[in-house]
Amino acid sequence: MDKPVNQKAWLLVLPVVVTVAFSAVIPLMTVVNYSVQDIFDPQTRYFVGTEWFQMVLENDRIWAALGRQLLFSLAVLLIQIPLGIGIALTMPKRGPWVSVCLILLALPLLVPWNVVGTIWQIFARPDIGLAGRLINELGFSYNYTRDPLDAWLTVLVMDVWHWTSLVVLLCYAGLQAIPDAFYQAARIDGASRFAVFRYIELPKLKGVLLIAVLLRFMDSFMIYAEPFVLTGGGPGSSTTFLSQLLTTMAVGQFDLGPAAAFSLIYFLIILLFSYVFYQAMANLGKAEK
């Protein structure tokens, strides 16, 4: 779309900038402050420069958690995005069932995150949980508290259960925003169902898919409450993701300096990946000539 240049548009954007910047700048300054100082008490502070950053980057546990986290987020994206699109395509477009579907889909999103972990904690137990019992009855030996792979799968399935609806709702709204005329023209042109998906639906979903990918990546990369409540990071440290490690450092061990440095690095990693996703998807459309 050809957009005219209009600096007065800043007036429309100003409220947003003010509210968000106001909320963001102060914490950022605080974190940076903490990350370059060693603070024993308000009176005794030493500037330590990059010492905390070096400590963080040399910490093996952090690298291990980063690896697990990347794997987890990758799995989340690979499952939830296609699944979300697929389910959105199966949903009815009109009629009484639309409301029912929307409400039922929305329910997993509305459960407070610690309660999600709590439910799955019982739900997946082999003795008193529906899923746990069922899986063991089917012949698989499944115990998420003992087996690292089982724990991983459980956390993954829990996340899919919890968050795929976000992708579905976004894609569904995106699909509904496609005017009927496009489908009608495609019928007249004799397009197959797959061609309709490829040439009409998918291109028009690009906007919502970008949001879905970014949101799911960011939120899964920062995931804390659900796995912590479910597995506590275990067995061992097999499901200890980055956020949990950070919280342990900041709250448990009370190492504010390293924790602040860690927070900044954490933020930069997410920023980097998000920027890459953003550029990649923004250019995807331009590349097709």
């Binding site: 779309m1 050809d2 005219p4 240049v5 600096q7 548009a9 800043w10 409220p15 947003v16 900038v17 509210t19 968000v20 909320s23 102060i26 914490p27 605080t30 697929g86 395509l89 949903m91 639309v98 579907c101 929307l102 409400i103 929305a106 329910l107 997993p108 999103l109 509305l110 459960v111 407070p112 610690n114 309660v115 709590t118 439910i119 799955w120 019982i122 739900f123 008193i128 529906l130 259960w161 609806s165 709702l169 709204a173 509904q176 496609i178 005017p179 919502v208 949001i211 949101l215 920062m222 956020s243 709250v251 927070s263 954490y266 933020f267 997410i270 920023l271 998000s274 920027y275 953003y278």
Partner: protein, 265 residues
Amino acid sequence: MKKRYLILLVYIVFLMLPLYWMLNMSLKTTAETLTTFSLVPQNLTFDNYRVIFTNPAWYSGYLNSISYVSLNTVMSLLVALPAAYAFSRFRFLGDKHLFFWLLTNRMAPPAVFLLPFFQLYSSVGLFDTHLAVALAHMLFNVPLAVWILEGFMSGVPKEIDETAYLDGYSFPRFFLTIFLPLIRAGVGVTAFFCFMFSWVELLLARTLTSVNAKPIVAVMTRTVSASGLDWGVLTAAGVLTLVPGALVIWFVRNHIAKGFALGRV
């Protein structure tokens, strides 16, 4: 046609099972939950719900949550709509960077914001108010709202704007009577997400409140007692937290489902 509804049905059943299990647990005593496996409660009890309905801390928790979440949703939408329009229709200095920067505010672990926000809101006397939590939540809801709305707005051909101006519409009238109905799916879904993310947010809501504005999510964390976690009451509260959100999506369902209707054109 049938096959696709079968897939949808299977998926919805998958979504409902843990929720059914939560309902199941909420109607049992904690002891029963932890010792026996039963698909329906052996000793059906409404005690858990009774605890919630009779304890003022619980239902005031609900009211508090509903208050600040509604406030936040409205404020976020009001602020985000003009900004999204600007991003969608105009180019201006720094627009691409600004757009991306907005989203970066969701990229930091929330724990980072706790102490600074606590100091900030205390110093302006907003500690323990609904307004404080509503404002604090705007940090992550406003960028989301702007991003989603911009996407939907860009899907509306600019020719429609121009036709309206030529027909003599003033900007407010055009925006309210023509433009907004065209993006109603986007507005509906944005409203729901703002509601949802604010509703479930725990850390900030708990940090910025103590008594007067304590949200339900914070009250629920108090179900840990000396004898361990009170599964019964916790799951009953969990069931009840679904209700407001379900209502919200029921109210916006028509907007999400209607999508693009060419109205007057």
